[in-house]
């Protein structure tokens, strides 16, 4: 590769889908991209009436937002439903966290009894919780050497269809439906996780994993998430992960039987 690869990122509705310092995810894409030798360009899609330039994008990021506004966001993205479907069918990457999973799901049921549809890019149905589930969350995915360490403030439960693959396996925290050990869902490049906040800041190995998936033609020239040189630049993040792992191992667990923290830790 002679020229540095370029990653084009659409930051969807930055001021609308904005709850928990989530803008850090976009900063992390630029930061880790630079470390990996990728020029990362981020474009903001600011307003609900703005059209996203899907032909330009390699990666689309939906951070979480208040559930009450999701019907309006879904109405906005439905205006480009065919184009988004075409984008996803090419294996291009969409990364959604927290409540924005509702945008990718088939539908979401609110406690009021109302429902609103989603894009249906994942075989998943969401249900609003009465109270949020807030905790640390540690997820393991097969092709990452390091666990993903972060937080969940889970306001909707996700029920996956029989054929739907979870994004990862919860090794500490609550699963998609409060119960279970499934975190999120993945279908080709469409990724949903319950990790919210700046999860890509805390887990640069996941950030690089996403960048590589979003740039399949350049991926072979990019460092892998377990590249020793890259890992040596992530000491701070690794120290954070190790500290949180110690904390989650030692702390008092909730009494709910569904909590993965109450399950076997033999593989930790």
């Amino acid at each position: 590769m002679s020229a540095r690869p370029t990653l084009n990122v659409l930051w969807m509705y930055p001021s609308i889908l904005n709850l928990y310092g989530d803008r850090g995810n976009l900063m992390a894409l630029r930061w880790v991209g630079e470390q990996a030798g990728v020029d990362v360009t981020v474009r903001r899609v600011e307003h609900l009436d703005d059209k996203a330039d899907l032909g330009w994008a390699d990666l689309i990021v939906f951070n979480p937002g208040e559930l009450a506004l999701m019907p309006d966001v879904i109405t906005a993205v439905m205006g480009q439903r065919a184009a988004i479907g075409n984008y996803a069918s090419q294996g291009k990457v969409i990364f959604a966290t927290g409540t924005s999973g509702a945008l990718l799901a088939k539908r979401t049921a609110r406690r009021s009894g109302s429902n609103f549809p989603g894009l249906g890019l994942l075989d998943m149905v969401m249900t609003e919780r009465e109270t949020p589930l807030g905790d640390d969350l540690i997820t393991r995915i097969d092709d990452l050497g390091d666990d993903i360490v972060g937080n969940q403030i889970q306001m909707v439960d996700a029920s996956l269809g029989d054929g739907q693959t979870p994004f990862g396996r919860v090794v500490y925290g609550y699963g998609n439906a409060g119960a279970g050990t499934a975190d999120g869902a993945i279908s080709r490049g469409v990724v949903f996780t319950n990790h919210l906040g700046p999860v890509l800041v805390k887990n640069p190995w996941l950030t690089l994993w996403l960048i590589r998936r979003a740039l399949p033609e350049a991926a072979s020239h990019l460092p892998a998430p377990d590249d020793p040189q890259m890992r040596s630049t992530w000491n701070l993040e690794r120290d954070s992960s190790a500290a949180i792992l110690r904390f989650t191992t030692a702390k008092e667990k909730p009494s709910y039987a569904t909590h993965a923290g109450n399950q076997s830790r033999r593989d930790r």
Binding site: D135, I153, M155
Partner: protein, 546 residues
């Protein structure tokens, strides 16, 4: 039977209040109310002589304690008797305790006014029992997300109590609060006109390290992105929604039209008032109190006298000295980005060379405790770093690494960041023992500051107000401890430097350039004296947040 139960509850509550005064006055804010409510769950409903027109509830995420205190002070200055939960117990038992203390043996309220600070989640229960005609709302912002999820949850809680019978007094520049006015019989708006920001920065209001990353909030009516033409605080300012037209009012009912932080003054109409504490939050507290006072017929002279004599209880800013260097403590609330941002802005307003000790910690609100640090990414650090922060120490056992990373992302030179994975004051102070600065700032929970003060008192490292080190330091005391601390500091800094150097990224240089530009802009302005600044934004109500 109901009246009998009420009398029994009242009597037991009064006895408990009396007992609490003798046993532990600091723990007596809730106990009598809890006992009364245990005996008579409808206790609040049965208190007599509450006049709705003289009953005011104050709620919101940040600033309700100070607003409550200020309003009570204005009313008392004007000669009125007031019952209030000034101690800060702002849930239903706290309200019950206030009534127990301010009723006679027959259960009749003795004061003319009843002013109650109400926790947002407890507001529906309090409002259901207490027929207030006025509801003051400070703001609705991100806070305690493990409980609340998102701010819209709190907005719904508050909205659920508003009906045609209620007059709401709402912040014109805070969109969620302003939107509540739609639901009320009447809405009175209070406002602070745009002014030269406390900590000058590339954008109005709080600093931003790079305007590209700046975010606001969704419109509470149509959910499109709000556009702010000026911000006095993050997402508080002159705003409009280009989709539905919802906007801050051009002519609010009561507005601060000018502020002079150096003089400690602000102007409403043609009258100038004293501003004792120089933060934007306090401006909003004052204009809220002014708006309510005018509604209740209080004269400008009485208001002016009250503002001039107001002293906030439980201030959130204290100073001690460490080896002759002033250490300013700013209290913050966990999981609350607004209080953290305000702390950063207060520090940014100090032109001295300084070190900052940042102790975001694991959240111990309820089980499961967790490691939330993400609200640091809600904050902008541009002005802070531009103001001359020579060194930062990130401490606490688990979260310190994430905070250090936040500083690194903001462009702080990595060699200037120390990581101390501990809550031990010795280790933390050691990290700055040979850093040459004019001031030290500490941002963390109150419990750590209390531990630090106790440590300094033991070692003679600070007297709290003398400005000098203790004379005649005992052999083997402070100096030996300093020596040990200095060695620990060097070890800690070396380790931190190794960690951080390994993670150095080229973005730092770009951000340092931006930081320097912001610093240059800042030094052209005269910031206020932080010695006179008190951070009011923390609620002083919940002991679990200590």
């Amino acid at each position: 039977m109901g009246q009998l139960r009420f009398r029994a509850a009242l009597g037991a509550g009064k006895m408990a209040a009396l007992g609490a005064r003798f046993i532990d006055p600091s723990r007596g804010t809730n106990i009598s109310g809890r006992i009364a409510l245990a005996i008579d769950p409808d206790f609040l409903d049965d208190v007599a002589n509450i006049d709705p027109q003289h009953t005011i509830l104050i709620t919101g995420t940040n600033g309700k304690s100070t607003s409550n205190n200020l309003i009570v002070h204005v009313l008392r200055t004007a000669g009125h008797s007031v019952a209030s939960n000034l101690e800060g117990a702002n849930m239903k038992p706290g309200a019950a305790t206030t009534l127990i203390k301010n009723t006679g043996v027959t259960g009749k309220l003795k004061s003319r006014y009843l002013v109650l600070e109400a926790d947002e989640r407890s507001l529906p229960a309090i409002r259901e029992a207490i027929p207030a005609a006025y509801l003051c709302v400070t703001n609705i912002q991100e806070d305690q997300v493990q409980r609340n999820g998102d701010p819209e949850y709190i907005q719904r809680k508050i909205a659920s109590v508003i009906d045609d019978s209620l007059t709401v007094i709402v912040n014109n520049e805070e969109p969620r609060a302003l939107a509540l006015g739609d639901l009320a019989g009447r809405a009175i708006t209070y406002s602070v006109a745009p002014y030269a920001p406390l900590a000058p920065s590339p954008e109005p209001g709080s600093a931003i390290e790079d305007s590209f990353w700046h975010v606001t909030n969704p419109c509470p009516r149509c959910h499109d992105a709000l556009v702010f033409s000026a911000e006095t605080m993050p997402s508080v300012g002159v705003f409009h929604c280009q989709r539905c037209g919802f906007a801050s009012q051009e002519k609010p009912d009561h507005q601060v039209t000018a502020v002079d932080f150096d003089k400690g003054e602000f102007t409403v109409g043609d009258r100038t008032f004293t501003l004792a504490y120089k933060t934007p939050y306090f401006l909003y507290n004052h204009i809220l109190a002014y708006a309510l006072a005018k509604e209740l017929g209080i004269s400008d002279d009485d208001i002016a006298e009250a503002f001039a004599t107001f002293t906030n209880v439980g201030g959130r800013f204290e100073a001690v000295e460490v080896d002759g260097t002033p250490l300013h403590y700013i209290r913050m609330k966990q999981e609350n980005p607004e209080t953290l941002q305000s702390a950063f802005d207060v520090i940014a307003a100090d032109p001295r060379r300084k070190a900052v000790l940042i102790g975001l910690d694991t959240v111990h609100d309820f089980v499961p405790h967790y490691t939330n640090s993400f609200y640091a990414f809600d904050c902008d650090l541009g002005s802070l770093l531009a103001s001359g922060v020579d060194h930062a120490v990130c401490f606490t056992e688990t979260v310190c690494y994430d905070v250090a990373n936040r500083l690194r992302y903001a462009g702080m030179p990595e060699e200037n960041i120390s990581i101390v994975p501990s809550n031990d004051p010795v280790e933390i102070l050691a990290a700055i023992s040979d850093v040459d600065v004019e001031a030290v700032y500490l941002i963390t929970w109150l419990s750590f500051f209390d531990a630090l003060k106790a440590h300094l008192a033991r070692t003679g490292g600070a007297s709290g107000d003398s400005g000098t080190n203790a004379e005649g330091d005992p052999p083997g005391g402070k100096r030996d401890e300093k020596k040990r601390a200095s060695a620990a500091a060097k070890k800690g800094r070396d380790a931190a430097a190794r960690r951080l150097s390994a993670g150095k990224a080229t973005l730092t240089e770009k951000k340092a350039t931006l930081t320097q530009k912001a610093a240059d802009r800042k030094r052209k302005n005269a910031p206020v004296s932080v010695d006179e600044t008190i951070d009011e934004m923390s609620d002083e109500t919940k002991e679990e947040q200590r």
